[in-house]
């Protein structure tokens, strides 16, 4: 059996509303297949065959599908996936960059249930003996390198470079294995589920209730919102350059 399992899922296309392959999950699968050609893909819930074949086209030999309700809670999905993940040292997953594509909690829930560390925002993987050297993306273009010993859960960054291939032969030859859910889904919907309502493009902003005097409102109407910062007119180029450098230093924007 393979050492690597990639959690993949279908997402709803924003325009057509059809289930399609998730870009970030495909990036995770491509990263895993770059390390080992035998990486297994695992999904929970109903996934149309077309989407499953789309994932297999990346070059994976096997996609396992654990039957699960379409609107299952993260805890349910996690519980259903656990038996297939217990013996796997490396679990990879994609991030959820768009809020519509999911909450992105599943890798953390799986890791907590298995008692494993989670490494987020993974960009690259380099095997080194049993361990992996993992490159992590940090804000402002910084990168961190970690030596990770198995078992671990890795969440692949949405900005990871994609070397994804699409092979029709692999898509046709890949195996799709369906497994029934081990734990029965909760019959009643849990309290946290809430109700499904139509969304609107314009979100209502949470604002503090203010009671302004008429005078203050009139002032607000004529005031320009941005007044600008300091303007430096006097002096020669050197004093002005010094002022710019001082500003950068005060706000610790340069380090030399």
């Amino acid at each position: 059996m393979s050492d690597i399992t990639v959690l993949v899922g279908a997402r709803t296309h924003a325009v057509s509303g059809r289930p399609v392959r998730s870009r970030s999950d495909a990036a995770a699968a491509a990263l895993a297949l770059g390390v080992s050609g035998k990486a297994r893909l695992l999904t929970a819930g109903p996934m149309p065959d077309a989407v499953a074949r789309d994932y297999l086209a990346l070059g994976a030999p096997l996609l396992e599908m654990v039957e699960c309700g379409a609107d299952a809670e993260v805890a349910d999905v996690s519980a259903n996936l656990l038996p297939s993940l217990r013996d796997v040292p490396w679990v990879l997953a994609g991030t959820r960059p768009e809020p519509e594509h999911g909450t992105g909690v599943l890798p953390y829930a799986v890791a907590a249930a298995l008692g494993r560390p989670v490494i987020a925002d993974v960009l690259a993987i380099q095997p080194e003996g049993a361990a992996w050297i993992v490159t992590q993306a940090l804000p402002k273009g910084a990168r961190r390198r970690l030596r990770v010993h198995p078992p671990a859960v890795l969440v692949v960054s949405a900005t990871a470079p994609q070397a994804a291939r699409h092979s029709l032969a692999d898509a046709m030859a890949g195996l799709i294995v369906r497994k029934p859910a081990q734990t029965p889904a909760a019959a009643s919907t849990p309290a946290s589920a809430g109700q499904r309502v139509a969304g609107s493009k314009r979100r209502k902003l949470l604002e503090a209730r203010t009671q302004q005097s008429g005078h203050a409102r009139m002032l607000g109407a004529i005031e320009s919102p941005s007044t600008g910062g300091t303007v430096l007119q006097a002096g020669d180029a050197h004093t002005k350059a010094q002022a710019v450098l001082d500003y950068l230093r005060i706000h610790s924007l340069v380090h030399f």
Binding site: P99, E100, H101, T103, G104, V105, Y108, A111, A112, P117, V118, A120, D121, I133, P139, K140, G141, A142, R143, R144, L146, R147, V148, H149, P151, A152, A191, S192, A193, G194, Q195, R196, A198, G199, R203, L205, L206, E207, A208, Q211, S213, H215, S224, S226, G229, T230, V231, L232, A237, H238, K240, A241, V244, L245, Y247, L248, H251, L253, V254, F256
Partner: protein, 370 residues
């Protein structure tokens, strides 16, 4: 010929500065016939009114907002999360801000009642387990009803980690927050309408940061982040991004050139010396002086650098759209009334080549001295 009006008594006149009282709501109220109150002079009315304190306490409940500080400042999303907490808080609820790293912002103006800053937090060190443990310590100390995080980057990851490990109810990507419910996108044009969760991760633009009140703004040193070794993970160190190869969207310091920059070798050597990524306005790109990928603005890239040094850029609206997320904007321009002067925190009226030359000299001198 003059008309003579016959009056019963003296002419009745309305006093334009009638005495008025200020109501508890902050409104000026004139009670006719009453001589109570103050006569406000016109310039007194124009003076900015000091904002009232949201609640002076005592507090029996608490909402905790958790964030990372970057270079002593909070991100816009973190400010929105604090504002959301302050707006939703009842008079007996304290808004506590827990910050990983030192933070120099004005806490009262943000609406924070109490700041717990872990000032010795080292962001370069990989310690997610320790951060979660730190939050569990805060949970024991403050017992907050709700936890608010900004759903982006490190804050979002920490919120997910903490909620899962502490077993608290979690709502991610909250796009709308009301007094007792929240909205989470469910896909296919639909939303989940749910009651408040214990841990809420707020998306961008949930709350307005304009507050009519201030918080108490008490600063307290927090417990430092415990030293816990990560099981099975070795930190091999952080490598800062190379500004030359970095995508502009990720860059931390950008130097951008406009039509006013003609000495390109000087510009590029200055960018190399200060370690800045290179951007350009549309005019400079159309002119062929820069690559299309370096264009910043509505038709180019939208950048979110901490520092943006605009040289010879007048600041057309389309360009200002591209730099709306930048924190510090410094403009160098010959025209002090150019639109960029209104956006910039510091505007220097100078010929760009002369300033670049002087700045390059200064930087080289300081680098040699260091």
């Amino acid at each position: 010929m003059n008309t003579v009006h016959a009056h019963a008594g003296p002419v009745r006149r309305v006093d334009p500065r009638r005495p008025a009282i200020i109501t508890p709501a902050g409104l000026r109220r004139i009670v006719l016939g009453s001589s109570e109150g103050e006569r406000l002079s016109a310039n007194r009315l124009d003076a900015p009114v000091a904002k009232p304190v949201r609640s002076a306490g005592p507090f029996s409940r608490a909402t905790l907002v958790v964030t990372h500080a970057e270079r002593g400042a909070l991100s816009d999303l973190a400010r929105q999360a604090i504002a959301a907490a302050a707006i939703l808080a009842s008079p007996d609820t304290e808004v506590i801000l827990a910050v990983l790293g030192a933070c120099h912002d004005d806490m009262a103006a943000l609406g924070v009642d109490r700041l717990l800053a872990s000032e010795d937090f080292d962001a370069g060190h990989y310690q997610p387990t320790a951060c979660v443990q730190w939050l569990k310590g805060l949970q024991a100390a403050c017992a907050p009803q709700h936890w608010l995080f900004a759903d982006s980057g490190l804050d979002g990851q920490l919120g997910r980690r903490f909620a899962v490990q502490a077993g608290l109810g979690l709502a991610c990507n909250v796009v709308e927050l009301g007094t007792d419910s929240l909205r989470v996108p469910a896909g296919a044009g639909q939303d989940w309408l749910r009651p408040h969760a214990q841990v809420m991760l707020l998306a961008k633009g949930v709350a307005s940061t304009k507050l009519p009140f201030v918080g108490l703004g008490v600063r307290e040193p927090a417990l430092s982040v415990p030293a816990i070794s990560e099981n099975g993970i070795e930190d091999l160190g952080v490598q800062a991004g190379d500004p030359k190869t970095l995508a502009l969207e990720e860059a931390d310091f950008i130097m951008a050139a406009g039509n006013g920059v003609t000495d390109l070798p000087l510009f590029h050597s200055l960018a190399l010396e200060v370690g800045a990524a290179v951007g350009a306005s549309r005019v400079a790109v159309d002119d062929g002086r820069f690559a299309r990928a370096q264009q910043i603005g509505a038709t180019g890239k939208t950048v979110s650098a901490s520092a943006y040094l605009a040289l010879g850029i007048s600041g057309a609206v389309q360009h200002l759209q591209g730099i709306k997320d930048c924190r510090h904007v410094i403009a160098v321009n010959l025209d002090a009334s150019a639109p960029i002067a209104r956006r910039a925190d510091l505007t220097v009226v100078e010929e760009s080549a002369a300033l670049m030359k002087a700045l390059l000299e200064l930087v080289r001198k300081q680098k040699e001295a260091a």
